[in-house]
Symmetry: C2
Amino acid sequence: MKIAVLGTGMVGQTIGSKLVQLGHEVMMGSRDADNPKAVMWAKKEEASQHAIFGTFANAAAFGEIIFNCTLGSASLNALQQAGVDNMKGKILIDTSNPLNYDGDIWTLTVCNTDSLGEQIQRAFPETLVIKSLNTINSNVMVDPGKLDEKTTVFISGNSADAKATVNKLLHDWFGWRSVIDLGDITTSRSVEMYAILWRNLRQATSSQRFNIKVVAS
Amino acid sequence: MKIAVLGTGMVGQTIGSKLVQLGHEVMMGSRDADNPKAVMWAKKEEASQHAIFGTFANAAAFGEIIFNCTLGSASLNALQQAGVDNMKGKILIDTSNPLNYDGDIWTLTVCNTDSLGEQIQRAFPETLVIKSLNTINSNVMVDPGKLDEKTTVFISGNSADAKATVNKLLHDWFGWRSVIDLGDITTSRSVEMYAILWRNLRQATSSQRFNIKVVAS
């Protein structure tokens, strides 16, 4: 499948590499067509012959499915550059969190009565926005088997069909065995607000390799 | 031990009953000395001879340790009624969440840059405020063994000694085997913000009997 990965940071690189290793064609998109991190990533993965790079718009036009791996603070702007028409009718898996990293205590730039997931859905009404993977560090996102137990990943979105597709992709591509559908895109609020607990847990566990498992009876 | 339980709702009743069953003396406090729910609770537990009731101030004066089980929206007012002097130097285990239940989507009345736990600590600087148990339904709070796996409970607070005491109480009284110390009282933000994910999980799992387990490697 042709996949767009928007963003050149750790999340974009990790998801992009996993997808080319699975045999998919991945274009990494960034603000500038020759972003040095995208160039280096494509070089690292060049043996696959499936790792290419371009602008946000190039990537969004290329991908049948789009991953938003940009920083939350930059996501809306990046997606505007990607272009409404290039994303129309496509699934956008939004992995971002609207975090403000200033100061010792992280805060969210939007929360409680709105969320970045909702903002993106409102800005791109003809794109199928699915919030997912934002609750886990990138190395666990693409390989939940790194943890000894089957932990949980969440999906939020308005389209049942798109959620079914993403559920299957999370299972088949990354190995997720416990996927909880939280509801429509407004439930992005809860997983974005969880980012603050994630931060505290990262400090408490002295690890980036952790996740939560929902246990119900 | 003499324990104050402030609040007559499900959380207060469940914690109060568990504590009298363990042999502790419990005074349930409420706005009015003859709150019908407190009267009924004491009657239900009268065989213990250790279940009594009174005003918030009566209970706070009585307890060596105080549980805040009032609604988050009412907590600061209830604690003012309990009285600064009655709570001075004591541990206050704050189980509340600052939830606004209006509408289909729950919101918080304070979050992100502040929390109810912090507001309480600022209002009662000589009380040892420990945020805990607010991430779980009351029936799991006092009996985590209802779930098949060892799930996680969190503690937040400024006093290491008070956290050590609460950690031991959670273990000895209720059976918690996985207690994560998140840090100082500012980390109340994260567990209160988690309440929105808790709400979504309650809907997704169609259960109130669930919790999260932190899995790290």
